[in-house]
């Protein structure tokens, strides 16, 4: 790495080189699908995921693998590969929203109550306990049905809001621990304001753990979206989503398993990668925190 590169890129490379091979591959996979999802519109020769060639005499429905359609076509003669790539957008959008909401609202809320303790903590944690009293999927199902209209925005927001309590719990536990540390006590002793301590000492020390949790929770979110889609409760067509693709193809599983296999593989690879990289970061942060 030459010094021409900005320091954050050098840090990223250093982190990357520190990873074991499998984690490197996982990072590579995640980077690839994220880039593919973002720049899908610019991938040369990638078909429009909603283009139904059979209507215009260019393609056939339920086609097998071919040079033209690497993974074949679905029953609307749409290119499966293209739908997989565009389907990544749904999974990633939902995951990113959940992480953003969770880290921001959940992380701050948890850090706050973990630091201030007292009645406010009791009240907030009690309401969080109520939300956590529902099995996540059951709650999600009811809320999504409740909203009626389902597009990517709605699904992401619902999953995002529902992620907050989980993050709050994780960050609270960490904030509790951090608050007992010597440097917090020292800051208090010299009369630093609570708000300053919260922002300067507690939150920065809670966040690394929360971010490691974020990757693992992103994996959970991707599965949740897949499950909702599989049950027919995620985004509306024609937006492609892996779960939607599995659901649409499973009736003909017996005759042709491939349209089920492809999106399933995407799901498994992505979830595995998020878990793997998340775990690696978690262990790393744990070591670092311990060394503080």
């Amino acid at each position: 790495m030459s010094s021409f590169l900005p320091s954050w890129i050098r840090t990223m490379f250093r982190v990357f080189w520190a990873m074991p091979l499998v984690t490197k591959l996982c990072t590579f996979w995640l980077t690839t699908i994220i880039l593919a999802a973002i720049f899908a519109d610019f991938i040369p020769k990638l078909a429009d995921p909603s283009y139904q060639g059979f209507l215009f005499g260019t393609d056939v429905t339920n086609d097998g693998q071919s040079l033209h359609h690497w993974l074949g076509t679905d029953n609307n003669s749409r290119d499966i590969l293209s739908r997989l790539i565009y389907g990544t957008r749904v999974s990633l959008t939902v995951a990113v929203t959940a992480v953003a909401f969770g880290t921001f609202f959940g992380g701050l809320l948890g850090s706050f109550v973990g630091y201030v303790r007292g009645r406010r903590e009791a009240a907030i944690m009690a309401s969080i306990d109520v939300i956590l009293a529902f099995p996540a999927l059951v709650l999600l199902l009811t809320v999504v049905t409740l909203l009626g209209k389902r597009n990517l925005l709605v699904i992401s927001l619902v999953v995002g809001v529902l992620a907050i309590p989980y993050y709050a719990r994780v960050s609270r536990a960490n904030a509790l621990a951090v608050s007992r540390r010597e440097f917090v006590a020292a800051a208090r002793a010299i009369g630093t304001k609570d708000r300053t301590i919260l922002w300067r000492e507690v939150i920065p020390n809670v966040m690394p753990t929360v971010l490691a949790f974020a990757l693992v929770s992103a994996a959970v979110t991707v599965v949740l979206e897949g499950t909702l889609a599989f049950l027919g409760l995620s985004v509306q067509p024609p937006t492609p989503s892996w779960g939607v693709m599995i659901n649409a193809a499973r009736a003909d599983l017996r005759i042709n398993i491939w349209p089920v296999i492809w999106p399933s593989l995407m799901l498994v690879f992505t979830v595995y990668s998020l878990n793997n990289v998340g775990d690696w970061f978690r262990i790393r942060t744990a070591h670092k925190t311990a060394a503080l």
């Binding site: 215009f56 029953n75 027919g232 067509p237 659901n247 649409a248 009736a251 017996r254 005759i255």
Partner: protein, 607 residues
């Protein structure tokens, strides 16, 4: 006027046989690589009734539009009904309950209900009505008083006897039944009286020449035991332990899992050779919602029969060895309807333009129904006596240019109803229940409409209840629905009168006559024909009236068709009789429309 139900003459019978032969030929045309015998060759002799003189016309050939196609046998087995044996049937959904007057029922559930309950009237193969549990019925001159005679010596599963009083007691339950209350209202039925031991008199508030059609449908046509309506607990219990006069009795019912029915040893009906029905010892119904696993279960022998309304499943079943397929399409067709009170669908150019851009053949292909389902142009299939060539000719065929031109005309109209500027695209919302099949169909329309460059399409999915809630009008006509374009499915082999009457009434009529007019399209002249059609029982006369109505509708285009709905009951090789069941008078019944099987006369073919 005094009328008894007519039997079909031999002429009709011959036509039916010919028609069946044609249908069979069509069905085999695609994969006639073997000498696969069609159902026409099946069942030439029956072992169950050796004393039977000669049964040269196989019962299987009589139902038009139904074909049992053994896919593997290379030689026609000398089959006929054998006594005994069990059948297990994979259904696409569980019945919410087995109370005809109360529980929402569709194809899978009718398979079960028809095994427990007999109807007062049933349909012949040609769709006309014949006495079943009733023996006869007659009406006065203006069709307001109907006198029905019941079959004697019929007992319920619980041992009680069927009398005229039973029908009167049923009416009490019917008035509060979720399914029956509406039928009572639309059939104009106001009173039921026992005028003899077995004589029942129905009094209507107005003319209804096809009242018999109501008595052949589940809500008020299926006969249940008087004890059922005793109190609220009895009514609740009847959902899972129904008591009828039917061929099978519910032995056990584990909702969402299986319902076991055993032979009713006291069943009143015998086949034309005097053998007491039913043939089977038991029939078990399993709800298997997943299409793929349902067919797998049949292929692997976990069940011995299954039903499906999905075209791709029929395709897959045809490719599976060792099955007999009982296919049927009939009047059942899918499509959509426009809410004509909402812009831009309030303009006929938009409606017609969108329909002209639609492509039925492609929709059918996307659903896997190529060579299985037929395109449709009206509410009636070509076999129906109400089918009209003129309407078929008037219905637009797929033509992007012509369709675009119509929409373009609207877009260029300075007075366009959606208030947008001249030249701006129209936006439409298409909504279907979240069923993978419908979603596939909906996306075909979306791509075609958007391909014109003139239309923005949004797709939404709502479950059936929400769907209806959005579309159903208020009784006083103040609310005409919040829907845009709705997926819908029409058609059954039932007489169309009642459905047409409520489906095309004036949505702004304070009496609520048009609250079920989901498209809100109302044409006074056209509706006049629909009303007129309920005043006569002459089929030809009525067909002419429906044609007049249809020709006006095909111009206004409040609804469109996306292809017929083929249905199938597939059975393990040897399990037959679904297409050949007979009415008490020995004539062929209607078979298995919409994959609604009558298991009373199903049998394992004797070797």
């Amino acid at each position: 006027m005094n009328m008894t139900l007519r039997k079909r003459g031999t002429g009709m019978r011959l036509t039916a046989v010919l028609l069946a032969a044609v249908m069979v030929a069509t069905a085999c045309g695609s994969d006639s690589d073997d000498t696969s015998p069609s159902a026409t060759t099946v069942a030439t002799e029956t072992t169950a009734a050796p004393e039977a003189p000669e049964t040269t016309t196989a019962p299987t050939t009589e139902a038009p539009a139904t074909t049992a196609t053994p896919t593997t046998t290379t030689e026609a087995p000398p089959v006929g009904p054998a006594q005994g044996g069990d059948a297990s049937v994979g259904l696409e959904a569980e019945a919410p309950g087995l109370r005809p007057w109360e529980d929402t029922c569709s194809s899978p559930c009718y398979n079960m209900m028809a095994a427990v309950f007999d109807k007062l009237f049933e349909q012949y193969a040609d769709g006309s009505y014949g006495a079943f549990l009733a023996e006869s019925i007659s009406a006065n001159d203006d069709f307001t008083v109907w006198t029905m005679n019941l079959r004697p010596d019929v007992v319920f599963h619980d041992g009680s006897e069927l009398t005229a009083q039973t029908i009167v007691d049923m009416f009490v339950v019917h008035q509060t039944g979720a399914q029956s209350a509406g039928v009572i209202a639309s059939s104009k039925l106001i009173n039921v009286e026992a005028t003899g031991d077995l004589e029942v008199t129905y009094t209507l508030s107005g003319t209804n020449a096809i009242f018999v059609a109501n008595l052949s449908r589940a809500p008020i046509g299926m006969v249940f035991a008087p004890s059922t309506g005793a109190d609220e607990d009895a009514v609740t219990a009847a959902a899972n332990a129904p008591i009828g006069t039917g061929p099978f009795m519910v032995d056990s019912r584990d909702v969402d899992n299986k319902t076991v029915m055993v032979r009713n040893p006291n069943y009143w009906m015998s086949d034309s050779f005097g053998t007491q029905l039913p043939y089977l010892d038991s029939v078990t119904f399993h709800p298997i919602p997943d299409e793929g696993t349902r067919l797998s279960s049949l292929a692997s022998g976990t069940v011995t029969a299954m039903q499906s309304l999905r075209q791709a499943s029929i395709r897959d079943a045809r490719d599976t060895e060792g099955l007999w397929l009982f296919e049927h399409q009939g009047n059942n067709t899918g499509g959509g309807m426009f809410n004509v009170t909402v812009a831009p669908y309030d303009d006929a150019r938009v409606r017609k333009g969108l329909i002209t851009m639609s492509n039925q053949a492609a929709t059918i292909e996307a659903l896997g129904g190529e060579g299985i389902s037929l395109p449709t142009t009206q509410l009636f299939a070509s076999e129906s006596p109400f089918y009209s060539e003129a309407i078929a000719a008037a219905y637009p065929t797929h033509d992007m240019a012509a369709g675009s031109a119509l929409v373009q005309e609207y877009i260029d109209d300075p007075d366009r109803s959606d208030g947008l500027a001249v030249g701006e695209k129209i936006s439409v919302t298409l909504s279907c229940p979240p069923d993978p099949t419908l979603i596939a169909a909906m996306q075909v329309s979306q791509v075609l409409w958007e391909a014109s460059g003139l239309v923005d399409v949004e797709l939404t999915g709502f479950d059936q209840a929400t769907h209806i809630g959005m579309a159903v009008g208020a009784a006083d006509g103040t609310f005409i629905g919040t829907h845009d374009i709705h997926c819908w499915r029409w058609g059954s082999e039932d007489d169309p009168a009642a459905g047409m009457l409520s489906g095309f009434g004036d949505p702004f009529d304070p009496s609520g006559a048009g609250a079920l007019n989901f498209s809100n399209w109302y044409d006074e002249e056209a509706y006049g024909y629909v009303v007129e059609a309920t005043l006569t029982d002459d089929v030809a006369e009525r067909a002419a009236l429906y044609e007049k109505f249809g020709l006006i509708m095909v111009e206004a285009m409040p609804i469109y068709f996306s292809g017929g709905t083929a249905t199938v009951i597939a059975t393990a090789e040897g399990l037959g009789g679904l297409d050949s069941w007979e009415m008490p008078d020995g004539e062929a019944g209607i078979g298995h429309p919409s994959a609604e099987g009558r298991w009373s006369q199903a049998y394992w073919a004797a070797e």
